[in-house]
């Protein structure tokens, strides 16, 4: 049997940032299957050196236009850890609510605008405005709600201003506007679940190590806690370097990472695989309806895991706003006294676990900085998945270059990569 396949994608579409796919199969033999990140490096860790502590969060927010809240939170917590600052309880709740807003915005953007067009056989969500207006309306309402939460709590939708070292600038006045919209979102999410039941995910499994935060008895983890992998590795937050093991690949401007195996995965599926029991029952029910149970090794299931998380977040946000209603005059900021020190912070960005690590001198200026990005941790795993995917599907009857290109593109999109972030 002579199978010859050739896929060459320059700057993959419907992902954040710039990456290329190369696949070559000759006479049924896999010669090459590559996922290469070619994004231009920005050297944020170098730019952070010498900066005043108040510049760290506004600067690192600019690593990513989609997950700027996650970067802000990771940055603030690393600085607070270095200075020994404890933020007030109300501030911690507000930060988690803002984080939920970002996750909802980011997941809705990915599910409807980046991933769904492949399942509905269109090049983008734009033609869906005519063919599926009700789907677009749901997408815009959910994404709009995520942005609205960010706006109310963070002061802006992208690159927040109210989240600061020491807490949150003030108790937001717009909180009472949110619950009615969140209630409506629950219906929109139910319709989205029905839509996703009609999507045919590629039947592909590759055994993978999944890394995420571990729940510490206070619900599904988003901001800071121990680090865990499905291969049984457990580390403290400050010990993150033992979890990431970054190294440089000659073909990629993003670094690659490994742990117990050649590569590992982070993101919604990793979080769910490690913390399924902490999901709210409403979210667990949706996971069940969509056939997702831990530990699931199909990377395309990350789409489903994101939807499950949206359900969890919508319910949890209602609870958080309830708690805040009784804290109207509670302090949201503490005074910050800088000192020489070192701090590490891990938060779950929409695309997976994100680490910031700073060293400060006695003047409150950064002497050393390190940021390890979720997509940086995923890139080697995407690359390894692609090889296995091509090996499995190349021999399928009637396989064409176009079909294989679509499968490989869908694989990368399933990880919802934030590529410029991964290079930073």
């Amino acid at each position: 049997m002579k199978i010859n396949l050739d896929v060459d994608v320059h700057h993959l579409t419907r992902v954040e940032g710039h990456g290329n796919i190369h696949v070559k199969v000759k006479n049924g033999k896999l010669l090459e299957a590559r996922w290469d990140v070619v994004e231009t490096p920005r050297y944020f860790e170098v730019m952070l050196k010498g900066k005043h502590y108040s510049s760290a969060a506004p600067l690192t927010a600019r690593i990513c236009g989609i997950c700027s809240f996650s970067h802000t939170l990771a940055s603030l917590r690393a600085t607070e850890a270095a200075f020994g600052v404890e933020i007030p309880e109300a501030a911690a709740i507000l930060r988690l609510l803002a984080k939920h807003g970002e996750t909802l915005q980011s997941h809705a953007l990915h599910l409807f605008f980046l991933a769904a067009p492949d399942f509905l056989d269109v090049p983008s969500a734009i033609p869906l405005m005519e063919s599926h207006p009700e789907v677009v309306a749901i997408a815009l309402r959910l994404k709009g709600l995520g942005n609205k939460i960010c706006d109310v709590v963070g002061g802006r939708q992208t690159h927040p201003v109210s989240l600061q070292v020491g807490g949150v600038a003030a108790m937001p006045t717009g909180l009472p506007d949110l619950p009615p919209v969140l209630e409506e979102a629950l219906e929109d999410l139910a319709s989205t679940v029905e839509l996703f039941k009609t999507f045919q995910l590629p039947d592909f499994v590759r055994e993978t190590e999944f890394v995420s935060l571990r729940a510490n008895g206070d619900g599904y983890p988003f901001i800071g806690s121990d680090l865990i992998s499905t291969d049984g590795v457990l580390k403290a937050e400050a010990d993150y370097l033992a979890m990431t093991n970054e190294y440089v690949d000659g073909n990629n401007t993003s670094k690659w990472c490994r742990l117990s195996r050649d590569s590992f995965a982070v993101g919604a599926l990793a979080r769910l695989n490690n913390n399924y029991a902490q999901l709210r029952p409403e979210a667990q029910a949706v996971a069940g309806e969509l056939g997702l149970a831990p530990v699931n090794h199909n990377p395309f299931m990350n789409n489903v895991a994101q939807l499950v998380e949206c359900v969890h977040i919508a319910h949890d946000s209602l609870d958080l706003i309830d708690q805040l209603a009784d804290m109207k005059s509670a302090p949201t900021m503490v005074e910050v006294k800088y000192r020489a020190g070192e701090g590490v912070s891990a938060v779950e960005a929409p695309r997976g676990i994100l680490y910031h690590h700073y060293k400060y001198n006695k003047d409150g200026k950064i002497t050393k900085a390190n940021c390890v990005i979720p997509t940086t941790q995923n890139n080697a795993n995407i690359h390894n998945d692609m090889r296995a995917l091509v090996e499995q599907f190349a021999t399928e009857k009637g396989m064409t270059n176009e079909r294989l290109e679509l499968l490989c593109s869908m694989l990368v999109r399933a990880y919802d990569p934030c590529i410029s972030c991964s290079v930073h």
Binding site: V46, M47, S55, C64, G65, P123, I126, G144
Partner: protein, 250 residues
């Protein structure tokens, strides 16, 4: 989509990304309540971040990002040849953005620190207008979608539009925000171009100057006030250099 039974004439728009966080492009897909109308006023032919369709036939090119590698220069020059109107979208495209702070460091050393022995190609960061002529600039980090809408209306229907000449300070006062200086924060609002609606000082963070200088800013008086409030020259300089728009001012 027809309007009153007639197919409207729409300009073909293409969106391209260079050295950036792609946050400004994301703003184009935000402001969800008017997004359908916005998308209906134009024909998006290339927008890699959200669409797999692509065409080299476009009227208006939006450029997000700074330029920091040789392949980006080639790509930008090619886009300039094809576009009738070229718009720099956001602070990175207009000034180099936060990326420009990289230029203060030795790039070989920066490469060693980040990548060790396997150095990656990188050039000093430049803005779009340092490479090709730019017809219109939309400032901000990120851009304000409301302002993008006003500018697109200007481009599509020739509705007059000019950049605000007044500083952010002006809009901050209109929103009754407490002066950031009085909250103990160094603020570039008195010298930064308005048009954003002052979301940052209203949200509790002073203006950091992402939109670059307003028309004819009174730097001398600004430095005097900042010094008077106790901010040292190095602190003021770190802030002025943050988004690249005030380069060479001090």
């Amino acid at each position: 989509m027809k309007y009153l039974g007639i197919d409207p004439i729409k300009p073909k728009i293409a969106v391209f990304d260079f050295t950036s966080c792609e946050g400004c492009e994301l703003q184009l897909a935000n402001k969800e309540d008017t997004l359908a109308g916005f998308l209906n006023a134009v024909e998006i032919v290339t927008f890699r971040e959200i669409s797999s369709a692509a065409s080299d036939d476009y009227d208006i090119a939006f450029i997000e990002g700074a330029i920091s590698r040789s392949d980006e220069i080639t790509r930008l020059m090619d886009i300039r040849k094809k576009a009738k109107v070229l718009v720099a979208l956001g602070s990175c495209a207009c000034f180099g953005g936060v990326n420009r702070m990289k230029n203060a460091y030795d790039l070989n050393q920066a490469n060693r620190e980040v990548y060790g022995k396997i150095a990656k190609e990188t050039l000093p960061v430049r803005s779009v207008k340092e490479i090709v002529p730019v017809d219109l600039e939309i400032h901000g980090c990120p851009v304000s979608k409301a302002e993008v809408e006003r500018i697109v209306q200007h481009l599509v229907w020739d509705i007059p539009y000019t950049q605000p000449v007044y500083p952010v300070c002006f809009e901050c006062k209109q929103r009754y925000a407490t002066c950031s200086f009085d909250l103990g924060q160094l603020c570039l609002g008195p010298i930064t171009r308005g048009g954003c609606g002052a979301p940052c000082p209203v949200g509790g963070l002073s203006c950091w100057g992402c939109r670059g200088p307003s028309e004819d800013p009174n730097y001398e008086e600004f430095f005097r006030i900042a010094n008077e409030y106790g901010y040292g020259d190095d602190e003021i300089e770190e802030r002025l250099n943050f988004f690249g728009g005030f380069e060479g001012v001090r």
